[in-house]
Amino acid sequence: MVPIPSSGLCAVLLSLALGPMQCAAALAAELSAPSVAVLAGGCANCHGPDGLSSSAIPSLRGQDEARLRARMQDFRAGRAGDATVMTRLMKAYDEAQIVALARWFAAEARP
């Protein structure tokens, strides 16, 4: 398994050097595309094929990347007051995975 850096010291140092966006990108680089595809598959299970939902569960596909990232971070931190199961799920995902998932679903808007 490819080691995934935690969002701790590495993230702080990188964000000082590169700014938050580049830091996020650098962390995301630790996950291979197939690994992200497998990870994102767990989301599709409720949020619909390729993240396109046709129910009360929100779509992920084509959403703004920064918003997706912020939302997942809020779930993980327990800051999303309207959350149900997402708080419990997101506690398992580190910063690199959140960055990769946000990029994955945001990118799916492209043809």
């Binding site: 680089a29 497998v38 598959g41 299970n45 799920l89 398992a92």
Partner: protein
């Protein structure tokens, strides 16, 4: 990681993420290898569909007897009268449109050395890799008096199909004031919260049509999935209609008399039912035994990183048939395992790097209309073992608001539509 290699990896990811239909890393080609998948349920159909998408050059064949697959998830809602039978059935046109060859036959035998699969039609399929997702079979020798013939009188209804419809007809025929007795096995078994959701759904039907009736649950264990939430929900919606008796209170049934609709417990208590639902102990589907991939437990041990079986190289297994604890035997888990197997096979057959093994689960249970509860978990492979990611997962809060319960009922409905579309749908 150096700056250069980081940029390279980043470029690879960006290319992969942008190429929605088949990420570039997985598109790399692959010889015309043939992968045969046995079982068109939540695990097998997922593996077949996503392998074809991620490695289009691979020839993918799915073997499934049923032309329409009826799902165990939401079959309890059918028992409640909240869902039509037809709405639980899913066909295979979506998989065919995605490029998967679908053969409706039963897989009868595996020649592991010769890499051949023999079908009930007499046809033999050659494979380079075999994926088994056969679900569970009942252990007809595990509970005295409960065999296939007995199941025609006291249905298990633990594979969705005629058994489920038989149980519903028995509920409809039952007189008001009768007792519905459910016999529940020890772990591990398919769908850990299933019996307890079923109790709620039977109670929903009784409360509207046969309100003087009772439901008695005789359980071979003392704890079960989401226990406090179920106990709370049953009480809130159905009062004292549901009585649960665990192992410590002599809940373990050791003998069944299906003709008399009687069961006997370990300490000799006899309970008589108006409707008797016996969920017996289970094991991996028969084809897994034929393939030589089960161990003494009756289930299939697998490598955590790929779900290749530990017993036979080249044969993969997933879903309820596998030993994959701490993951539960659920449809959600089978779907995430199916994606992992698809990605692992795509990588292997196209000569690219294997994916990280990650899995997740969310099981919604319906207590009544507008009242849902859930359990969630996230898992990964670590040192050859499957582990739950520490500090994550868990069940709905005990003190949740009515709005929270209503949202989880809605999300359960949404989950069912989403996962079925993901697996059997027409595709994006």
């Amino acid at each position: 990681m150096s700056g250069v290699s980081r940029r390279r990896a980043l470029a690879g990811l960006a290319a992969g993420a942008a190429g929605l239909a088949c990420p570039a890393v997985l598109r790399a080609g692959g010889a015309a290898a043939r992968v045969v998948v046995v079982g068109g349920g939540f695990g097998g159909a997922t593996a077949a569909r996503w392998l074809k998408r991620w490695a289009p050059a691979v020839q993918v064949t799915l073997v499934e007897p049923a032309e329409r697959f009826y799902t165990c998830p939401f079959s309890n809602l059918y028992l409640a009268g909240l869902r039509s039978w037809d709405s639980l059935g899913h066909g295979y046109d979506g998989l065919r449109a995605a490029g998967v060859e679908v053969i409706h036959a039963r897989a009868d035998d595996v020649d592991a050395a010769g890499r051949r699969l023999r079908l009930s039609t007499g046809q033999t399929l050659a494979w380079d890799r075999l994926v088994l997702s056969p679900g569970v079979d009942m252990r007809w020798d595990a509970l005295d008096g409960y065999d296939e013939a007995a199941a025609q009188l006291a249905p298990h209804a633990w594979k969705a199909g005629p058994q489920t419809q038989l149980l519903r007809r028995q509920m409809e025929a039952m007189e008001d004031g009768g007792t519905f007795v459910m016999v529940i096995p020890d772990n591990p078994f398919r769908c850990p919260p299933g019996p307890y959701e079923r109790a709620a759904m039977v109670a929903h039907y009784f409360s509207r049509h046969k309100p003087r009736s009772k439901i008695l649950l005789l359980d071979a264990k003392d704890n079960f999935s989401k226990k406090p939430l179920f106990l709370q929900g049953w009480k809130a919606l159905y009062g004292d209609m549901i009585e649960w008796v665990g192992l410590s209170d002599d809940g373990r049934v050791t003998r069944v008399d299906a003709r008399r609709r009687q069961v006997e417990t370990a300490f000799g208590q006899v309970h008589t039912a108006a409707v008797l639902n016996v969920i017996p102990p289970q094991k991996a589907g028969l084809i897994a035994e034929r393939a030589g991939v089960v161990d003494a437990s009756g289930w299939v041990p697998v490598k955590a990183e790929s779900f290749e079986t530990r017993q036979v190289a080249g044969i993969y297994a997933l879903g309820d048939a596998t030993l994959a604890a701490p993951m539960p035997k659920s449809a959600f888990v089978a779907n995430t395992q199916g994606r992992l197997v698809a990605a692992a096979l795509a990588a292997e057959l196209t000569g690219t790097a294997a994916p990280d093994a990650s899995f997740s689960n969310t099981c919604y249970s319906l207590i009544g209309p507008g009242y849902g509860i859930s359990v969630a978990g996230v898992y990964r492979a670590e040192g050859g073992q499957i582990v739950e990611v520490p500090g994550s997962g868990g069940v709905s809060p005990a003190d949740a608001s009515a709005a929270f319960r209503a949202a989880e009922a809605d999300y359960g409905e949404g989950w069912y539509g989403a996962i079925c579309a993901d697996i059997w749908g027409k595709g994006a």
